[in-house]
C-alpha cells in the first residue's frame, strides 16, 4: 500500500519533501544531523578525551607528552583526601537510602491515599524545594545554620539561653551531616512524587480485596502495596544513588567541601584538582573513576536488584 503511494508521490513531485516513511538521505541529515553533531562534540568526544588525558600529566597547554600510564590512578587511590571524598559519597548514598527514601515513601503513602483531603496542597509544598537551585538552597541553609544570626541560634537560645548556639558548618565532624539534612530537604519531595505516581498505578481493588480477606493495614502494605511498588521504588533508589555519587552544587555553596575537607565529595575534589589547579591529566583520572563507579553500579544494580521482577 505504502509503496504504491510513495511511488505515485515520487512520480508527481520530485521534491524531497514528498515520500513519507522511506525518507531520503537529505531529510535524515536535516533531522538528525544537528543533534548528532552536538551530542558527539560536547558529550562523546569529551568523555573519550577524558579517558586519554587520564593517562598523561598535562596542564591543558601544549602537546600531550608526559605519558604516565596508570600512575594518575595509583596516586589517586593513595590520596587520603580522595579516599575521604569517596567515603563521603558512600555515606550520602547510605543516608539517602536509609532516611530520604523511607521518608519519601511514608509521605507518599499518606498523601497517596484516595481519601486524604488536602493531598494536592501538601504535595505541592513538598515538591517545591526540588525546583530551587542547589546553590540558592545551600546558601539559604547556611543562614539557617549560622550560629550568630540563624534559626539555629534562635532555637538554641530558646532551649538553653546560657550556652552559645552550636557551630554546624564550621565543625568538621558535623558539616557533612548538616549538608545531608539540606539534601534530604531538597530531594525527598522528588522521590515522593515518583512514588505517588507508582502508587496510583496499583489497582485499588487489590488492596480492598486483601482488606476484605481480613488483612490489617500493615499486612496490606507488606504483602500487596510494597511488592507492587517495587519497580518504582527501585527506580527512585537508583536516581538517589546515582545523584549521591555526583553531589557538587550544594556542597560547593555550603563551604566548598571544607573545613579540612570534611564535606569533600568526588566532584568537589575533581573541581579543585582539575580546574582550580589545572591538572587536567590527574583531574581526568578522577572523572574517569567517578564514571566507572557510576557505570559499575548501574550494571550491578540492573543485574542484582532489578532482575527479580521479570
Amino acid at each position: 500500500m505504502t509503496d504504491t503511494m510513495t511511488a505515485a508521490g515520487r512520480r508527481t513531485n520530485l521534491r524531497l519533501w514528498r515520500g513519507a516513511r522511506k525518507a531520503g538521505f537529505p531529510t535524515l541529515v536535516l533531522l538528525l544531523g544537528p543533534a548528532l553533531v552536538l551530542f558527539t562534540v560536547f558529550v562523546v568526544i569529551p568523555v573519550a578525551q577524558a579517558a586519554v588525558y587520564s593517562l598523561y600529566r598535562w596542564n591543558g597547554l601544549g602537546p600531550l607528552s608526559t605519558f604516565r600510564g596508570l600512575q594518575n590512578f595509583a596516586a589517586l587511590a593513595r590520596d587520603t583526601i580522595f579516599q575521604k571524598a569517596l567515603w563521603h559519597n558512600i555515606l550520602i548514598v547510605i543516608v539517602s537510602l536509609v532516611i530520604e527514601i523511607p521518608l519519601a515513601l511514608g509521605v507518599a503513602l499518606i498523601i497517596g491515599r484516595s481519601n486524604f483531603k488536602l493531598a494536592v496542597f501538601f504535595r505541592t509544598f513538598f515538591f517545591m524545594p526540588y525546583v530551587l537551585s542547589e546553590v540558592i538552597t545551600g546558601i539559604l541553609w547556611q543562614f539557617i545554620y549560622h550560629p550568630q544570626y540563624g534559626l539555629i541560634h534562635s532555637i538554641a537560645a530558646l532551649l538553653s539561653p546560657t550556652s552559645p548556639a552550636p557551630v554546624l558548618l564550621g565543625n568538621p565532624r558535623i558539616t557533612l551531616w548538616a549538608i545531608m539534612v539540606v539534601i534530604i530537604w531538597k530531594y525527598f519531595g522528588f522521590h515522593m512524587t515518583i512514588l505517588i505516581a507508582g502508587l496510583q498505578d496499583i489497582p485499588v481493588e487489590l488492596q480492598e480485596a486483601a482488606r476484605i480477606d481480613g488483612a490489617s493495614s500493615g499486612q496490606v502494605f507488606r504483602h500487596v502495596t510494597l511488592p507492587l511498588l517495587r519497580t518504582t521504588l527501585q527506580i527512585s533508589m537508583f536516581f538517589s544513588i546515582i545523584g549521591s555519587f555526583q553531589v557538587f552544587d550544594v556542597v560547593w555553596a555550603m563551604g566548598k567541601g571544607d573545613p579540612v575537607n570534611a564535606a569533600e565529595t568526588m566532584v568537589t575534589y575533581l573541581y579543585k584538582f582539575g580546574i582550580q589547579r589545572f591538572q587536567i591529566g590527574y583531574g581526568s583520572s578522577v572523572a574517569l573513576t567517578i564514571f566507572v563507579i557510576c557505570l559499575a553500579f548501574s550494571i550491578l544494580y540492573r543485574k542484582l536488584v532489578m532482575r527479580e521482577e521479570r
Partner: protein, 283 residues
C-alpha cells in the same frame, strides 16, 4: 459499638497523619519564610525576632537590590533567562526532529543511532567537564552564552529524545496515511500533524530543560568568568562573597533569586511532574 470504635480509630489516625504532614510542611516552608522576611529586617531583628514579621518593614534591602544599588540582580536574571531560553529553543528543535526521525522513519541505522544517544544517559556531566573546558577554549566559546547553552543541550539530548520518541511512536499510523494522501512527506507530517498533536509532551520536555538550565551551576561556573555573564546561582554565590555578613541583604537577594523559580514551579508543576514520572516510571 464496633462502628463507633472503628470511626474513632479512623479519626485518631487521620489526625495523626495530618499532623505529620503539617510538621513536614513547616520544615519545608519555614526556611523560605525566613528568607523572604529576613530581607525586610535589620541585622538586629534577624536575631531578636527570627520568626516575626518585622514592623515597620524595612524595604530598603529589596529596593536597593531592585534598583541595582547593590549587586547585579537584573543582570543575572537576564543572563539566566537568556541561557534558559536559548537552551529550551535548541533542545526542542533538535530533539523533536531527531526523536521524530527515530520514531517514525525507516532507515538502516535507526536503532544504532538511538542506542548511540542512549549511551549518553550513562555519562554524568562531571566526567566530561575537563575536556569540555579545553574544547570550549578551542572553539572560543568560553565566557559566551553559547558556551553554556550548547553543552547543556547536548547533555539533555539522551533523556529528551527518549521522552519524545516514546510519545511520537504512539501517534496512530492512520494519521500518517492521511497526511500522505494529502500529499505531505515526512517533514510535512512532522510539521502539520506530529508537532501540533504533541504540545503537552513538548511543553513537558521544554519545562524540564528550563528547570535544568535555570538551576545549572557547574557549567556556568566553568564557562563564565566575567561578572557580566553570571547567572542567578552564580550571582548569589558572588554576592554572598562580597556582602559576607550582611545577612539581611543576602536573604533579600536569595528571595529575589527564588521568585522566578517558584513562578516556574507554580505555572508548570503539572509538566514537571509529568516529565519526571513519565521518564522515571515508564523509562
Amino acid at each position: 459499638m464496633r462502628v463507633m470504635a472503628e470511626s474513632r480509630r479512623r479519626l485518631v489516625s487521620s489526625v495523626f497523619l495530618y499532623a505529620a504532614c503539617s510538621v513536614v510542611t513547616l520544615i519545608v516552608v519555614v526556611p523560605l519564610y525566613i528568607s523572604i522576611l529576613g530581607g525586610f529586617k535589620t541585622m538586629g531583628q534577624l536575631v531578636t525576632q527570627p520568626m516575626n514579621i518585622p514592623l515597620p518593614l524595612m524595604a530598603s534591602q529589596y529596593t536597593d537590590l531592585l534598583v541595582g544599588k547593590v549587586g547585579f540582580y537584573w543582570r543575572a536574571l537576564v543572563n539566566s533567562s537568556l541561557v534558559a531560553a536559548l537552551s529550551v529553543f535548541f533542545e526542542l528543535a533538535l530533539c523533536a526532529c531527531s526523536a521524530f526521525a527515530l520514531a517514525r522513519l525507516h532507515f538502516r541505522l535507526s536503532s544504532a543511532i538511538y542506542n548511540y544517544f542512549l549511551l549518553g544517559l550513562l555519562f554524568p556531566l562531571a566526567v566530561a567537564v575537563l575536556p569540555l573546558y579545553i574544547q570550549l577554549r578551542g572553539l572560543h566559546l568560553l565566557d559566551r552564552y553559547l558556551g553554556v547553552v550548547l553543552p547543556q543541550v547536548a547533555f539533555q539530548i539522551p533523556l529528551q529524545v527518549l521522552l519524545l520518541r516514546g510519545f511520537f511512536k504512539a501517534i496512530p499510523t492512520e494519521l500518517e496515511d492521511a497526511s500522505e494522501i494529502d500529499g505531505y512527506g515526512p517533514l510535512g507530517f512532522l510539521w502539520y500533524m506530529v508537532l501540533p498533536l504533541s504540545t503537552p509532551i513538548l511543553a513537558t520536555s521544554g519545562v524540564l530543560t528550563l528547570v535544568y538550565s535555570w538551576n545549572n551551576f557547574f557549567l556556568p561556573l566553568l564557562v563564565f568568568n566575567s561578572e557580566a555573564r553570571f547567572t542567578l546561582p552564580m550571582g548569589v554565590m558572588a554576592f554572598q562573597g562580597v556582602y559576607a555578613s550582611d545577612w539581611n541583604l543576602i536573604l533579600g537577594y536569595l528571595s529575589l533569586a527564588m521568585v522566578p523559580a517558584i513562578m516556574i514551579f507554580v505555572f508548570a508543576q503539572k509538566y514537571i511532574v509529568a516529565g519526571l514520572t513519565g521518564g522515571a516510571v515508564k523509562g
